[in-house]
C-alpha cells in the first residue's frame, strides 16, 4: 500500500494566531530558542497500490481543491512515502520519509 503526504502551511503574509499561541507557550516553558512558530497541517492519503506519477498529480489536485484554501494557505509538499502510517517513533533529525520520491 502506498501513501502520499500533503503538507499545507498558512501563507507567510497571513497572520497565524495558532502559531503565535504556540511560540508564546514555548517561551513560558523556557524554550526561548524559538522566536516564532507557524502551524500547518499534514495529510496522509492512503493509496491502494503503487503511488504513480498520475496518483501524485491527483493528490496535488486534491490538495489544491479541498485540502488547502489558496487564499490563506500554500501546499508546500506532495510526496509519496512507503510503509506504515507515521507513528510516534522519534527521528534522529533526518526526514522521516527517507524514500521520498518527489
Amino acid at each position: 500500500m502506498g501513501r502520499v503526504v500533503v503538507d499545507v502551511m498558512p501563507k507567510p503574509e497571513i497572520l497565524d494566531p495558532q502559531g503565535k499561541a504556540v511560540v508564546a507557550a514555548l517561551a513560558r516553558l523556557g524554550f526561548r530558542e524559538f522566536a516564532g512558530a507557524r502551524q500547518g497541517k499534514r495529510f496522509e492519503l492512503e493509496v491502494d497500490g503503487e503511488v504513480t506519477a498520475e496518483v501524485l498529480e491527483r493528490a496535488a489536485e486534491a490538495a489544491r481543491t479541498l485540502l488547502s484554501n489558496p487564499v490563506i494557505e500554500d501546499v508546500v509538499r506532495v510526496t509519496a512515502v512507503d510503509g506504515a502510517p507515521t507513528d510516534g517513533a522519534p527521528t534522529d533529525g533526518a526526514p522521516a520519509a527517507g524514500n521520498a520520491q518527489s
Binding site: 503574509e13 497571513i14 497572520l15 494566531p17 495558532q18 503565535k20 499561541a21 479541498l66 485540502l67 484554501n69 487564499v71 490563506i72
Partner: protein, 238 residues
C-alpha cells in the same frame, strides 16, 4: 416570497434565520445539505453554526455539499454583472461563501484567539445589495456578533477592489472584534446579490429579544430585520 434556509450537519442558527424570514413577512423553506433542488426559492440564507464540525477549515466541506453545488450554479460567478440568486451567508455561512469562491477572501481565527460574543456596532456602507436596500448609507446599527474564526483577510488588491467598487457592506465600529482587515464585517459580490456577514442580523429582529440599542438593558434592537425585509421587497418588485 420563499426564502430557503440551509441546514448543514452542525448548523446552529437555522431556526432563528427561518424565524427572522417569517417575522419579515416571508415564507421560510427548509433546505437540507443533501438537497439537489432549491425548491423554487427566491433567495437563500446560509446560517451560522459549525457545518460539518468545522472540520478541515470552516465551511470547506459544506462547500461541496449537493445543495451548495446548486446554490453556486444559480448564484453565478462572483464578478458577473447580471444578478443571480440572492444569497446571504451569516457567520459560518460567510465562511461557506468564501470557501465556495462566491465571495473573495477568507475568514481566519480571531487575532486575539478567543471566541467573541457581544452586541456589535456596525456601519452599513453598502445599501445597493439585495439584502441591505432598506438601510441608509452610513447608518449605524447594533446586532450580535459571536465567532471564533471571524477575521476577514484578503490581499491588498482584493481589499482595494472591494472598497473601490462599493462592495464593503458593513464595517465594525467601536473597536475591531476579530482582526478583520480594514474593519470589514461584510462584503458582497459584484451584482450585490450575494452578501457575507460575520455578525448575526437574525438575532436582532424582535424587540425584547435583541441586543441593547443604547446599553440601557431594554434588549430592543431590531436592527437586523431589514436584511430580511430588503430581500423580500426586492423579490416582490421583480
Amino acid at each position: 416570497v420563499r426564502i430557503g434556509i440551509v441546514t448543514f450537519p452542525g448548523s446552529l442558527d437555522d431556526t432563528d434565520a427561518a424565524r427572522a424570514v417569517r417575522i419579515a413577512g416571508g415564507e421560510a423553506v427548509p433546505l437540507w445539505h443533501g438537497d439537489e433542488s432549491l425548491h423554487h426559492v427566491d433567495g437563500v440564507v446560509l446560517p451560522g453554526g459549525f457545518s460539518y464540525g468545522d472540520y478541515l477549515r470552516c465551511g470547506a466541506i459544506a462547500r461541496f455539499s449537493p445543495v451548495m453545488r446548486e446554490i453556486i450554479r444559480l448564484a453565478g460567478p462572483p464578478t458577473q454583472q447580471a444578478p443571480g440568486l440572492p444569497v446571504l451567508g451569516i457567520c459560518n455561512g460567510f465562511q461557506v461563501l468564501c470557501e465556495s469562491h462566491l465571495l473573495p477572501g477568507a475568514l481566519i481565527r480571531n487575532d486575539h484567539r478567543k471566541f467573541v460574543c457581544r452586541d456589535q456596532r456596525l456601519r452599513i456602507e453598502g445599501t445597493s445589495t439585495r439584502w441591505t436596500s432598506r438601510y441608509s448609507a452610513g447608518e449605524e446599527v447594533v446586532i450580535p456578533l459571536k465567532n471564533g474564526e471571524g477575521g476577514f483577510v484578503a490581499d491588498d488588491v482584493t481589499l482595494d477592489a472591494l472598497e473601490g467598487e462599493g462592495r464593503v457592506v458593513a464595517r465594525y465600529l467601536g473597536g475591531n472584534p476579530n482582526g478583520s482587515y480594514r474593519d470589514i464585517a461584510g462584503i458582497s459580490n459584484v451584482s450585490g446579490t450575494v452578501v457575507g456577514l460575520m455578525p448575526h442580523p437574525e438575532h436582532a429582529v424582535e424587540s425584547l429579544f435583541g441586543p441593547d440599542h443604547d446599553g440601557a438593558g431594554r434588549a430592543d434592537s431590531t436592527d437586523g430585520l431589514r436584511f430580511f425585509t430588503s430581500v423580500l421587497e426586492g423579490a416582490l418588485a421583480r
